[in-house]
Amino acid sequence: MSFEGPAEDRLAIRELVAAYGDAVTRNDAEGWGALWAEESVWCMPDFPGWEMMKGRNTIVSTWIEAMKNYSLNINVQTLGAVVVAGDTATGRAYTDELVTDATGATYRVSGRYDDEYVKQDGRWLFRSRMFKVLHSG
């Protein structure tokens, strides 16, 4: 898939993905919610009950509940590919997470997001993210 499209868009999408990890790390629901388009979809098929959330309000309220399972989540995200086509784009991002969960266990998670982005009023936002855990431990 590689990287294609205008440099300014590629940089802005890189910053959107980085901002997502930053908002998770700081447990900042407002900052995190501002990264999603109104009509967006968040899929986490590895997590029963969170297979698919639709709409920003539902996505943010689900995330606030999900984050209660972690006293710590240091979440760094790195791009693997971005292809921009006008005001939409697709991409892949990898996560490197250090988490402490509700049981007190601390471990690292390596995962992948398959993403769709949309540019609205000059700002890039997530239109959909699908998360898959690749390695954990």
Binding site: M1, S2, F3, A7, R10, L11, T78, L79, G80, A81, V82, R92, Y94, D96, R108, S110, R112, K132, L134, H135, S136, G137
Partner: protein
């Protein structure tokens, strides 16, 4: 330090990330597309792979390495390979970088392991595209380096 034209720095950062994406996706065509024809890959920590020359040989040796450490070729995501540049210097159609990587994979017992390493990289711009002309890899010291080394020898 990062120096040189903005678009070149961004393209080189993306090349570094494309390399990791191709390892993770187990996509040999995408991985090969990151290298210049006349390139060098140096892995002094891995006996037999200290210095590999030429794109064709580099790709053939990479396939052997992936088979040895990460199981069948159709197994995507066997190794999650994440890279971040620590410096990039662009001088015309050539550039250098230092890159840090984390590789997560399951060892021979199915336990998740992580290797931290650094690359000294050289790049060349050909027909408007940045490519690796040289990658030199070194493993960084980590807590369970002895266990990782023992596991690698047992394969």
């Amino acid at each position: 330090m990062f120096e040189g034209p903005f678009e070149d720095r961004l393209a080189i950062r993306e090349l570094i990330e494309s390399y990791g994406d191709a390892v993770t996706q187990r996509d040999v065509d995408a991985w090969a597309a990151c290298w210049a024809e006349d390139s060098r890959w140096c892995l002094p920590d891995l006996p037999g792979w200290e210095r590999i020359e030429g794109k064709q040989t580099i790709v053939a040796e990479w396939l052997k390495m992936m088979d040895a450490f990460h199981g069948p070729r159709d197994k995507a995501d066997a190794c999650v390979f994440i890279s971040t540049p620590g410096r990039i210097s662009v001088l015309g159609d050539e550039a250098r970088a230092r890159t840090y990587t984390t590789e997560a994979y399951a060892d021979s017992k199915g336990v998740t392991r992580r290797i931290l390493s650094e690359y000294y990289d050289k790049f060349v711009k050909q027909d408007g595209r940045w490519l690796f002309s040289e990658r030199s890899w070194r493993m960084l010291p980590i807590e369970d380096a002895a266990a990782l080394s023992a596991d690698a020898k047992s394969r």
